[in-house]
Symmetry: C2
Subunit: 201 residues, 2 copies
């Protein structure tokens, strides 16, 4: 039976090093050294570096989805307030990581999409899963009359995810969450709050 705690340790350390240096620049040896696992052990847990990279993506995406779902399905607040809490949480995280790591899936999407269809597919699937959480939240807002019934929630969800990922990138280069604040403020000023008012005008 495989020792899952060693596997977990490799994945967690890998996620940390990949977030800091990128996938290509993170060697298997650096991961092993960093968590004190003997060199020979790696292939006991993973068939290749790619297999390891996919496990890191899966772990990060699953963990992230748990938080995303909890925030966007929290029925104690309105659907649009859930989105605001999600954005606030994202800004808190960016400040915690000193605006350095940002979104691991976004980082790997930039780095690997053009290099590997296996990674591209895996990362795209993660984005599409996240997008569906936004779709569900926007549908809940529609059901409550906070978003127009005629709004294309799928396109809106794609717009929000793209804009948020881009704002995270800008927050990294600016070393400030201002682009994330500006994204949210314009989104709520123009796109979300007024969809009913505008479309019924």
């Amino acid at each position: 039976m495989k020792n899952t705690s060693t596997r977990d340790k490799l994945i967690d350390t890998g996620a940390e090093l990949i977030a800091q240096h990128g996938y290509n620049a993170t060697g298997i040896n650096a991961v092993l050294n960093s968590c004190g696992v003997p060199k020979g052990s790696f292939y006991h847990y993973f068939s290749s570096k790619e297999d390891f990279g996919l496990a890191v993506i899966e772990r990060f995406a699953d963990d992230y989805a748990v938080g995303l779902k909890a925030l966007l399905e929290d029925e104690s607040v309105t659907p649009l307030e859930r989105l605001q809490r999600y954005f606030a949480r994202g800004r808190d995280y960016m400040q915690t990581c000193n605006h350095e790591t940002g979104c691991l899936i976004g980082n790997l999407g930039q780095e690997l999409s053009g290099q590997s269809d296996v990674f591209r597919d895996a990362l795209n699937t993660v984005f599409q899963r996240w997008e569906q959480h936004f779709v569900a939240c926007l549908q809940a807002a529609q059901a409550q009359g906070a978003v127009s019934p005629r709004a294309d929630v799928q396109a809106l969800a794609s717009f929000i995810l793209s804009g948020w990922e881009g704002a995270i990138l800008r927050a990294k280069t600016l070393k400030s969450v201002t682009p994330m604040e500006q994204f949210e403020s314009i989104l709520f000023e123009y796109v979300l709050v007024d969809t009913v008012a505008r479309q019924s005008a």
Copy 2:
């Protein structure tokens, strides 16, 4: 006197390899081999790999700014049409590069912002310069009454740049320009076209 054509060749090849593989994974030897320049020559032109990376960023940013300026200051069409042409040009480019390379500045921003303040500053300066072209275009739209005089064009420009960079990232992982189309369509449906109508309502 330095041979500028060899320097140019190194920069152009470097830009191509960095766009494909990232900065960390692009070795100086690979650049030299790829353009047939002898190994000893590199330090004749650049003091370090970082110096070389900064020259690649500067070249790409300058070339890109020329096209951006030409599109966004083209007085033969309205300011909002200029933005639409810019977005169309971006989608054409993504199709030309098979959705693989995307935006070199965005890629390096993701990869290097957390690793090096020198690169972060250089990339942030590029983004800020680009953003000012959007500001000028939005101000021209305001002057013609197509955008409300009360709209915060600086925040709108930041929103557009973030959203567009994020849409390019999503286009890479999806291998399709659909996220770029969705970004433009929501931007014009909610944010730009209606600013006058909404704010005077």
